[in-house]
Symmetry: C2
Subunit: 346 residues, 2 copies
C-alpha cells in the first residue's frame, strides 16, 4: 500500500539505486540536481523506507529488547526509562517485556526477541534460575544482564549494583549513630541482591566488633505488605533500635505499621530503606535510604549493550555501579536511655 522506493524512482525518473543513495546520504555520488529533485519527491510523497527490508540487508534492526520482572516495581520503572532514553539517543528502539520473575516467560521473550532479530538484549533475570535449562539455549545476540547471573550461552556482559557496599554503608551509618541491635528485614533469601546485602550487613557489624545475631535477619518479600504484616504480627525485641529494610517498599510498610502501633519513627526506632524510590521523599517521615541509581542503571546497561553491538569492546566485562547513602528523617541517633514512655508529645 504505502509508497516504496520504486515509486519514488519512477516519479523522479531515476533508478532505485539513485533514490537509495540519497535516502542514505551516500550522495557523494549524485549530482546536486538529481539529489534535490529526488529529495523533493520523497518529501512530497512522505516516503518512509521500510526498515524491515533494510534490516534484511544490513543485518541490523536498530532494536534492542528489555526484559524486566515488572515495570510496576518502582526500581524497574526508572530503570526502564533510563534504558529507553539511552536507546533513543543512540538511534535504537526498545522492545519491552515483563517476565513476572518467571523463567519460562523470560525464555519465551528471548525467543521472540531473537526471531524479531533484535541486535541485543538487556536482561534483568527472573529470580529462580535453572542453570541446566539455560545452558541449552545459545542466544545468538549479545546479552547484558543486570544484577543477576544468567547462564545462557552467548556473548555476555554484566552490569551490577554494588549491593555489598550499599548495605555496608547503611549499617555503618546506623552503628555510627549508636545503634547496635539492627533488625534486617530482607526480601527473598535466594536472590543475589539479598545475599549481597546480607554480606554487607555482616561486614559492617564485624568491623565494629558487634556480634552477628542470626535472629536479627528476617527474609520475606520485597513488598510493602511484607513490612507491614511483619510488624503487625510480631513484637520487636526490646533491644532493637533500628530496622534495615530490604527496600523502600518494605520500609514504607514498616513505618505504616509502626504508626498504627503508636511507635514513633525515628524517635523510638530508626528505619532505613533501600532504593530511593520517588516516594521515599514524599513519605512522612521522609525515608533515609540507600539510593540505587536505577535510571542510570538502565541507561548504562543499554550503553554497554550498544557498545558491544557496535564493536566497541574496550570496556571491562563487568561493570559496577555505586550506591549512595541518602540521609533523611526516618533515622536518628540512638537515645542513651532505653525506650521509655515518658515522652509522648510530638
Amino acid at each position: 500500500m504505502s509508497v516504496t522506493i520504486k515509486d519514488i524512482a519512477r516519479l523522479a525518473g531515476v533508478s532505485i539505486a539513485t533514490v537509495s543513495k540519497v535516502v542514505n546520504n551516500k550522495d557523494f555520488d549524485i549530482s546536486e540536481g538529481t539529489r534535490v529533485r529526488v529529495q523533493k519527491i520523497i518529501d512530497e510523497e512522505n516516503y518512509r523506507p521500510n526498515s524491515l527490508a533494510r534490516s534484511m540487508i544490513t543485518k541490523t534492526t536498530k532494536t534492542v529488547g528489555l526484559i524486566i520482572p515488572d515495570v510496576r516495581n518502582p526500581f524497574f520503572t526508572d530503570l526502564a526509562r533510563g534504558a529507553e532514553d539511552c536507546a533513543k539517543e543512540n538511534g535504537y528502539s526498545l522492545l519491552f517485556c515483563n517476565s513476572d520473575d518467571v523463567l519460562e516467560k523470560e525464555i519465551e521473550y528471548i525467543n521472540t526477541l531473537v526471531e524479531k532479530q533484535v541486535d541485543g538484549i538487556v536482561l534483568a533475570g527472573s529470580i529462580n534460575r535453572n542453570k541446566a535449562l539455560e545452558e541449552k539455549y545459545s542466544v545468538t545476540v549479545p546479552i547484558v544482564s543486570l544484577d543477576r547471573k544468567v547462564y545462557f550461552k552467548g556473548i555476555q556482559a554484566t552490569v551490577e549494583i554494588d549491593n555489598v557496599t550499599g548495605a555496608h554503608d547503611a549499617i555503618e551509618y546506623l552503628i555510627q549513630s549508636g545503634h547496635k541491635d539492627i533488625l534486617f528485614l530482607s526480601g527473598q533469601e535466594e536472590v543475589d541482591i539479598s545475599k549481597d546485602r546480607l554480606i554487607g550487613y555482616k561486614k559492617a557489624l564485624e568491623e565494629n566488633h558487634i556480634p552477628f545475631n542470626p535472629k536479627c535477619v528476617i527474609f520475606g518479600l520485597y513488598k510493602s505488605e511484607f513490612g507491614y504484616q511483619y510488624i503487625m504480627e510480631n513484637d520487636l525485641p526490646k533491644e532493637v533500635t533500628a530496622i534495615f529494610c530490604g527496600n523502600d517498599l518494605i520500609a514504607l510498610g514498616v513505618i505504616k505499621a509502626l504508626k498504627s502501633k503508636k511507635i514513633k519513627v525515628p524517635k523510638d526506632i530508626s528505619i532505613m530503606g533501600f532504593d530511593d524510590i520517588s516516594l521515599a521523599s514524599i513519605n512522612t517521615p521522609e525515608l533515609t535510604t540507600v539510593k540505587q541509581p536505577s535510571y542510570e542503571f538502565g541507561y548504562i546497561a543499554v550503553q554497554r549493550l550498544i557498545d558491544i553491538i557496535e564493536g566497541i569492546t574496550n570496556r571491562k566485562d563487568k561493570f559496577e555501579i555505586k550506591t549512595e547513602l541518602i540521609i533523611r528523617e526516618s533515622t536518628a541517633p540512638r537515645r542513651n536511655d532505653t525506650k521509655s514512655d515518658d515522652d509522648v508529645a510530638e
Copy 2:
C-alpha cells in the same frame, strides 16, 4: 550467521517449501514421516524463523507501538504494564516510547514506528497539540489515542476515562459529607483531563445548589511538588474544609505540607486524590481517591487496537472507562463547628 530455513531444508533433504509448511503448521499437506523428520532437525539446530523476512511477505509484524509521556508517572507505569500484557496475550510485541509530553518527540517516534512497520500504535498524546502540524501527517497505521484528542490523519479510535463523572462523584461524596467550600488543586489547565474534571466539579456543585467560586480552582502541575509548595506558600481560606486534588501525587504533597504545618488530615481538612496509585494506600493517612483503572486502560487500548488491526470492527469508535470512588482515611465528615484548637490530641 544463524541457521536459516535453507539450512534446515538441506539437512532434512527436503525443499524449503516443505520446511516452511511444518514451521507454520500448514502440515495437513505433509506426510507424518517427513513432518517428524523436519521437526527433529529444526529442534536440533535450534532454528528460529527470521520474522523480518516473514513480515515482508505477510505485511504484518505482530508488533505495536506504545507512546506515553513518561513511564515514571505512576499512572502510565500501570498503563504500560496493562498494554504489554494485552499485547503478549495476543502474540504481539510492544515497542516502548516516552515522549516527555513534547509533540516533536511524539512525531519522531511515530515516524520510527511506521518505518519499523508496526501494525498499530497506542498513543497517549503529549499535552500541547498542534492541529495544523498534525494534520499534515497521515499515519498509515491504525492509532488508538488515550484520553486526548489527536489530529493525525488515519484510522483512529479513542479510549477515554470518564473524568467528568469521576470528579463529579468525588465532589458529590465530599458534599454529602458536609463540605461546601472545596478547593480544587488541579494540574495544567490546558489538558483535557483537567477540563473534564473541572466540569465534573462544577456539575456536582450546581446539583447541590452550591455557588461556584472561581477562586477555589487553582491550576498547577500534576506533581507532588506543586501540592507541597502551594500549601507551604499559601494560607488556606478559613472556610475551606476539603481539598480535591488533580491527582494523588498532588494530594500526597499537600498532606506532607499540611503535616509540617500541624494541620491534621482528615480532622481539620479532608483531602482527596485522583488515580489511586499504589502509594495511595501505603501513605498515612491512606488516601481517599478516585481510582483510574490505569492497568485496564492500557489493556483495553491495546485490545481495541488489535481488534482494529485484525479487522474486528464491531465495536464503537469511542470507548469509555468508568472510574471508581475509593474511600480511605484522608477524608472525613465536616465538623459542625468551625476549625478550633480545643482538640490537639491525636
